[in-house]
């Protein structure tokens, strides 16, 4: 049976999450996004042309090492906790349909000058609205500064 009780989302959970992330040492991460005008040439599809990724800042975020057992030779994994308010701002600005669409377009995340690959994404919700996104990241092997 459907729950017909009245719920008025007021953005409280989003504001608390943002405040907690900021208070917990919040920093800025940059999603590596493809340019708005993609490269449709042959050279752009065979790795000849530079992709021209754009940096899309997300703040506040908290970056920490994930508690996962490490295998021999495996790169460490990290978690990025992202404020849903920051994500919503970028989704609106880029006129995307959802946060999932935003993360699906990203080729990686740069944090503190290092590139990380997105392994998985989950959202915490309150009253049907996301207030926090959790990205599981793996360190990229390339050591070039971002």
């Amino acid at each position: 049976m459907a729950d017909l009780s009245t719920q008025n989302p007021c953005g409280l959970a989003q504001r608390i999450a943002t405040a907690l992330l900021r208070a917990g040492g919040g920093t800025t991460a940059s999603l590596q996004m493809p340019p708005l005008q993609g490269d449709s040439t042959d050279a752009g599809q065979i790795g000849l042309n530079a992709p021209g990724f754009l940096s899309l800042p997300l703040a506040p975020v908290v970056f920490r090492k994930a508690r996962v057992s490490m295998q021999d030779g495996e790169l460490p994994k990290y978690e990025l906790l992202v404020s849903a308010a920051a994500v919503t701002t970028q989704v609106t600005e880029l006129q995307l349909s959802s946060a999932q669409a935003l993360f699906a377009r990203a080729s990686g995340v740069a944090v503190a000058g290092k590139l990380f690959l997105i392994e998985a994404i989950s959202a915490s919700e309150n009253q049907g609205q996301a207030y926090l996104y959790r990205l599981l990241l793996q360190e990229a092997s390339g050591e070039w500064p971002m």
Partner: protein
Amino acid sequence: MQNAKDTFYIALRSRLASVNPARTMTLRAVARPGILVSEAEAPAAQPQLDAFALSWTGMQADLQLAAILAQMTCEIQYSTVGTQANAGLDRGRALEEMDYEVLHLLYPYSAQKMNYTVNPATAMETMVFWSEPEFGPVVTLRDRLSRTAKVTVFAFQEQGEQ
């Protein structure tokens, strides 16, 4: 050898556009036929659904001939979860459609080798040719069906070619 890999991909991409014009994807803000070279795209945790991903794995060179004959293994990986309209219950049919398309993409088993590092691309002197596909078993992960078809691609290394 890179010219052979580029030629193989562009040949299959052009054929896919005529075999099934509806199989398209949007990758890096470009709508294009649903085929990609894995090593030329950003690494992804999940495979692109309903698209063909080429991965270059094995490599051998025959040095006994007048020109070096490179023999490279290309794995064509593809996955599907079916369609939303059929609640994914057509995923077996969707995979079979992709199997059929692989057969059509690969035939004829050759293409003129091209150099795509110059603009416009120029034809080279030899052909790139390849074997019939060797289909692997279906791999099921939850509602996703995947298959890998292996193809051996042959190309002569031409004078001055890197």
